[in-house]
Symmetry: C2
Subunit: 370 residues, 2 copies
């Protein structure tokens, strides 16, 4: 039978702690479901900088290109704030996204029944929320040239004498491929896509709207498509998030809107993500999976971290990389059961109580529920 190759990059902060629980889950599927994983571990972010002086070594990059899927924990921490832009922990993550050409970032924002009261929003506004933000991840202002900080000394009106530049740049092809990903995903869900940009002020937004519309008309006329300005999108996410099914948007808007959407659920420690690229000859897409939460340096090393977001990221790997949809369903159901049973890491502990558990106890509870 098939073997699945995985590169595990735990990263910084709570990354290694939550990833240790994912390893338990991987082992369970190997022992009990006849799956075979080839697992390699390596460094990314601050951990890689400490070892190699760069946030992602070339050898690690090569390994990431060679495996079926990369699992990443989190990167960054105050220790690395002083580093130069070019070697900051984030650059390791951005290099992986860019060089693996992971253009479609899937960020589900799902409100778990047992946790609906954690939201700062009213229960009736978020209960049952299940939206999917598809964010373009390899282009736009994150990567466009020219970029940098320059001196502007010949401009006497510029007090301070410097200028900072970034370039928002999208090709029609870049827009079409992420639009296709969104339409495909919508077909397997609520069959609705809302595309967000600022076509009223940015030409790149006009191109975005036109190309999404082109893909819709020519290839996915059966899916319902709407367009919204990104500022209104932010409002609507706060006002009535359940009006959305799939949202497709660019790299920078996606960064902000997906974080807002994530926070609607009130439980950031629960949310996974997948970043997908082109389908390889073996039929599997280039892929990286990571929790939405960050490295949370304030709680690192205290056994307080919630491993669920990272475990659900592995569930996404089962579904999108390995076609193991039933196994993914089983893992997600195990998580729901554990939550329904009141098992709670510190971040999930509300006024109604529950059984407080550590990071590894949460992992064990999920294994038991499997």
């Amino acid at each position: 039978s098939d073997r699945y190759s995985l590169l595990i990059l735990p990263g910084d902060g709570i990354g290694p702690e939550v990833m240790a629980e994912v390893v338990k889950v991987i082992d369970w599927f190997q022992a009990n479901r006849g799956m075979a994983f080839d697992v390699t571990h390596d460094l990314v972010g601050g951990a890689a900088y400490d070892a190699h002086g760069v946030p992602l070594a070339d050898a690690t990059m090569a390994r990431a290109q060679a495996v079926d899927a990369v699992l990443l924990g989190a990167v960054g921490g105050p220790k690395y704030d002083v580093l130069d832009f070019s070697v900051k922990p984030e650059r390791g993550l951005l290099r992986l996204r860019k060089e693996m050409d992971l253009f479609a970032n899937l960020r589900p924002a799902q409100c778990f029944d047992a946790l609906a009261d954690f939201s700062s929003l009213k229960r009736e506004v978020v209960a049952g929320l299940d939206i999917l933000i598809v964010r373009e991840l390899t282009s736009g202002v994150y990567f466009g040239e020219p970029r940098g900080i320059h001196s502007d000394d010949n401009n006497p009106e510029n007090e301070g004498g410097r200028v900072g530049i970034n370039t928002q740049r999208y090709t029609s092809g870049e827009i079409r491929r992420v639009a296709r990903a969104a339409f495909e995903l919508a077909r397997a869900r609520g069959n609705k896509v809302c595309s967000m940009e600022k076509a009223n002020v940015m030409e790149s937004g006009i191109l975005w709207r036109e190309e999404v519309t082109w893909v819709h008309q020519n290839e996915y006329p059966d899916v319902e498509l709407s367009h919204m300005y990104a500022d209104n999108g932010a409002m609507q996410l706060v006002r009535a998030p359940r009006q959305f099914d799939v949202i497709v948007t660019d790299n920078l808007f996606g960064d902000i809107l997906s974080d807002a959407a994530a926070m609607l659920t009130g439980s950031l420690g629960m949310l996974p993500s997948a970043s997908l690229g082109a389908v390889m000859p073996n039929g599997r897409p280039k892929a990286l999976y990571e929790p939405v939460h960050g490295s949370a340096p304030d709680i690192a090393g205290k056994a307080l971290a919630n491993p669920i977001a990272c475990i659900l990221s592995f569930a996404m790997a089962l579904r999108y990389s390995f076609g193991e949809g039933a196994a993914a369903d089983q893992l997600e159901a195990a998580v729901e059961r554990v939550l329904a049973d009141g098992v709670r890491t510190a971040d999930l502990m509300g006024p109604e109580g529950g059984t407080p558990v550590s990071t590894s106890q949460m992992g064990d509870a999920i294994i038991a529920a499997l």
Copy 2:
């Protein structure tokens, strides 16, 4: 005594309806508080396009430059969606902002006690909310060059063959002046500023952070300053908005974050804004005041619009253009009283009921409360 000159640009959709109520308020202050306003009316947006073929005529622009303050209703509507980018209603507004050099856009997000239940957020999260977003309004990706949509035919990898470009560009001087505005405003409030950017991925964000820090250290060390990535800012606004006092951010982040913040209050029909530029020889800043809400074409002409946002925008004009702080306080208090009395336009009508009123009845109620 002083005369105050005003240019009124009602614009499109509900703009003229809400502005008619502001005119009543202006008349009241003339009749009862000995103020003298020289009021001119003119066209902007779709209304200007219909009359002149451009969304802002040169003569109107000249008038705007000459008055103490511009009051704007709203621009845009489906009728104008087909227009070319260069003459869309929004371009009229953007031209005013740019040519008057209105670099500091003040967007208060305030939760009115009588309306706290309108928020999609829990009452305990938003009750008493009072934050001020200071958005840079004349630079950044809204105005940076190069920009446009070009053909990219020589790139065989670009399916579609086009590329869309916008440029995020900030000078240190542009950042410093809006930072100063934010620090000044903070001193008159909670004395706290949070600056938001994406310095982890954008060099323009690094420059932003450095220049805000420079202004803080050299000129406002007494104000508390913090920095936050804009994606985290969006999360924190949803999670716990009352942690903020003044937020300062760039044009594009400000557009999105201020709309999210506005929606936290649940009553968009209540929120005013001020856009301020350099102080003129007469001691008054270049200024434009407008409600945060749009032209709401769906309810235009039905006497359903809520005029309060536009009336409170005039209160901001009293405060920031004319130094009439006591009059502004009085007008704001009149609005609060009317709300406390249960007077409600359609958008404010909740399950607990109230006295339903039309646009002009709301204006009359506020006059009566004055």
